[in-house]
Amino acid sequence: MYRHAYNNPLLEVKHLVKVFTGGGLSRGKSLTAVDDLSFEIPGDKAHVTALVGESGSGKTTTGLLVLGIIPMTSGQIIYKGKNIWKMDKKGWMGYRKEVQAVFQDPYEVYNPFYKVDRVLELPIKNFKLASSGEEGRKLIVEALDAVNLTPEEVLGKYPHQLSGGQRQRLMIARALLTRPRLIVADEPVSMVDASLRAGILNTMLNLKKAYGISFIFITHDLSVADYFSDDIIVLYRGSNVESGDIKKVLGRPAHPYLQLLVSSIPLPDPEKRWKARTMLKAEEITRRRGEGIGCKFYSRCPKALDICANTRPSSVQIDKDHFVSCHLYSK
């Protein structure tokens, strides 16, 4: 439908840091949600990068930073060669058009005061996507069609009159209106019933194929990430601990944290229960660690070495398309 290939990386995130502090006059503790994160989204073809982590990993914050909704503490976010925080108004509008989002909570994203149509009308109005009401309506119908919704089903209704699945599809339709190049999807199916998730994921896969849209897919669910993504970045407390081609990384996880995760996820197959496939078992380890020094996973790591207590591991390539930050693999 519309494919715009771009030879350089589409998005470059360089040394991204986000620190949340307690506030001006109060001297509260600070929280480093994103800690020196760097990654790239290629531009030559549609690509899905999964950003995986548990709660507190910083994955949602990273998404908000990439979208430019919250300011960063330091680092650079470069889109098509331009730093997004240094863009002029026109450039910024262009960024907003090409990078859109789908959020997790299909209830929260709708202002209960307005009918759901508004969610579709706002981008059309603000980005001047249509020159007449007629044209705007056509765009809306097109977008709804791409997500398998009919206008009669959803238009003219209030948010509480639609189901969670319908609301989520509508969100995706909204994201499509501006013909984005990249969609940041933050847990798009975790609040939707299991039997309806596949449909929404398949819809998004179709968008990738038909419209050439790339995704940053933020999730805690490794199985879903595996189904949907090409690459994976595993976050632990704001840092990238392992990344690369998703089949490689999940097939042979290197970092102890990822090994722990993969061993712990429940598989919907009674023939392959935990006992039969544990790579690494969680232990009740209480190791004290100085604040800010050493590997973040040290206090929970069953394979920790002495060096882990006081030196941060740096990224090491252990295979084509497979990187890990762990002293076990340092040369």
Partner: protein, 294 residues
């Protein structure tokens, strides 16, 4: 779909009529209106036709029981009680409205700015608000009322407003803080909405009902304070308020003398006023909060 187009206008008119039909279904709202509207009529419309003569002392014979000429009789100072009631209601309502409006306006402005701006502005405004909150309202009110020679109704209203704004500011700030992080605000930003658009179109509609409810509370609070001041003799003595009627009634021992027609009506009016405002609050909550609608 532009705002000014016929489609925009029609959809807005439809929205308003939808809200009105919701309002019709709320029993609390209707009950509240049934109490408030007659009181407003009594307090604002009737004074336009009822002559002030009945307010002067010794205008009529004292202590008359209710009769055809004097619906509520006369008090021990020779005034027509019905006239007193009408004008007293008017004055009490004015105090409530001024104090409520000014207090809320100030509170909303300060609270909203603090919540939306965040950072240093927030810290500064919040400390100021908290300082004012800590000041003991009642003793200060008593002292000021006793000290000021010419305490007029408007002046009292402003004084009451000065004590009610911090509460509104706090409430406003916390509402704005929570709304700011809501998904639909983030989504609006992504859809290209600027700050002003977000404030007026996303946050304001969700806050408006809250403001109206705070107003009801503020108004009630102001009127209660006024009555309390009157009862200890510190209210504005120039103008006649419901509280003042009660004061004189008690001064002249109306209860002991079984002059129910003197002391009961102002009390009933006050109770009806407070009850009506509360019911309006509940009703508005039903209209605006889709989750508790029947």
């Amino acid at each position: 779909m532009k705002e000014g187009s016929p489609q925009g206008f029609l959809s807005r008119a439809l929205k308003i009529s939808a809200r009105l039909s919701m309002a019709r279904k709320s029993r609390a709202l209707i009950a509240g209106l049934c109490l408030i509207l007659p009181l407003l009529f009594l307090g604002f419309i009737l004074p336009l036709v009822v002559p002030r003569r009945g307010l002067s002392m010794a205008a009529y014979p004292r202590d008359l029981s209710p009769s055809f000429e004097h619906i509520l009789g006369t008090d021990s100072l020779g005034r027509d009680i019905f006239t007193l009631l009408i004008y007293g209601l008017q004055q009490s309502l004015i105090i409530g409205l001024i104090a409520g409006t000014v207090g809320i306006a100030l509170g909303v402005l300060i609270g909203f700015t603090a919540g939306y701006k965040g950072g240093f502005t927030d810290d500064l405004l919040r400390s100021t608000t908290d300082t004012f909150l800590v000041i003991p309202t009642w003793p200060l009110l008593v002292i000021l009322s006793g000290y000021l020679k010419a305490l007029t109704v408007p002046l009292l209203a402003l004084l009451l407003a000065a004590f009610s704004w911090p509460g509104a500011a706090r409430g406003m700030r916390s509402q704005v803080l929570s709304l700011k992080e809501r998904g639909f605000v983030r989504l609006a930003k992504l859809s290209g909405e600027g700050d002003l658009g977000i404030i007026f179109k996303e946050i304001a509609p969700n806050i408006f009902p809250y403001i109206v409810m705070m107003f009801g509370g503020s108004m009630t609070g102001a009127m209660v304070s006024e009555v309390a001041l009157e009862l200890i003799g510190l209210g504005p003595s120039e103008s006649n308020t419901l509280g003042l009627i009660i004061y004189w009634a008690m001064f002249y021992g109306a209860t002991v003398r079984r002059m129910w027609w003197w002391i009961a009506p102002p009390i009933i009016c006050l109770v009806a006023l407070f009850l009506g405002l509360q019911l309006l609050n509940i009703g508005l909550d039903e209209v605006y909060n889709p989750r508790i609608r029947r």
